[in-house]
Symmetry: C2
Subunit: 115 residues, 2 copies
DNA sequence: CTTTCATTTCGTTAATGAGCGAAATGTACA
DNA sequence: TGTACATTTCGCTCATTAACGAAATGAAAG
């Protein structure tokens, strides 16, 4: 339906989606954890995740009632792999990214979800 | 004003801008040549070029009454350089890209502009 | 089988971006 | 200086996308 390279670039051209990728670099997270950190509606975060998944950057894995999202570091799509690496290399000094990563440490899904 | 990485990805997330980059791979072109090949309004093409220029992918050089746009292959911005290479590697088999490149051969700016 | 709860889908609104034509700009050249 | 012409900027319209809340889904656990 769309030039695949363009689809991949579109997936990366939103600040919240970049934040998600850089959070998942630390560890896999479920939707409600990401929601708590980004401070957005759950439905919005779910949509962002589906866009990243469609493009090939992340995959999901069910764990009990949660859906954990993982970075797809070992994807067969070479462009996706290269772009993921480029994104991970970047933005280390961005205060927003650093703050997100700090929050991840103190996030507990059992407390946050259904809070 | 905006996360620089996001700005770079945004610049690449439009099919016509990808076409422009892949045309400029063949040779530098002026606005009216690009306009003739993409079949868009001049003002639209000018906007696309300014977005690519802002992001660092291309630069301009005046030649008489024409403004030639060049790929910025030697840019100091490492991410831009990497993304440019990735884009150039890709889409070689896209029929649209191939058609654009065919047209470039037969385009003569003196005839096309002010036509 | 029913309840619970994380997640997704749906419908809508608001913001962003692509496209156009017309007017403005700026430069080469008569 | 003035004209011609490539390009840019402006104002607008239409399409796309992000965001939300509400309703639907689906799976785990009672």
């Amino acid at each position: 339906m769309m030039n695949p390279l363009v689809q991949i670039f579109k997936a990366l051209s939103d600040p919240n989606r970049i934040r998600i990728i850089k959070m998942l670099e630390i560890k896999p997270l479920c939707v409600c954890e990401i929601t708590a950190i980004l401070n957005l509606a759950t439905s919005t975060v779910s949509k962002h995740l589906s866009i990243l998944k469609e493009a090939g950057f992340i995959f999901e894995q069910k764990e009990g009632k949660w859906v954990n999202y993982h970075l797809n570091r070992a994807t067969q799509q070479q462009e996706v792999r290269e772009l993921l690496l480029l994104t991970l290399k970047n933005g280390i000094n961005d205060p927003m990214i650093q703050a997100d990563r700090e929050k991840i440490k103190s996030v507990d899904r059992a407390t946050i979800c259904s809070g």
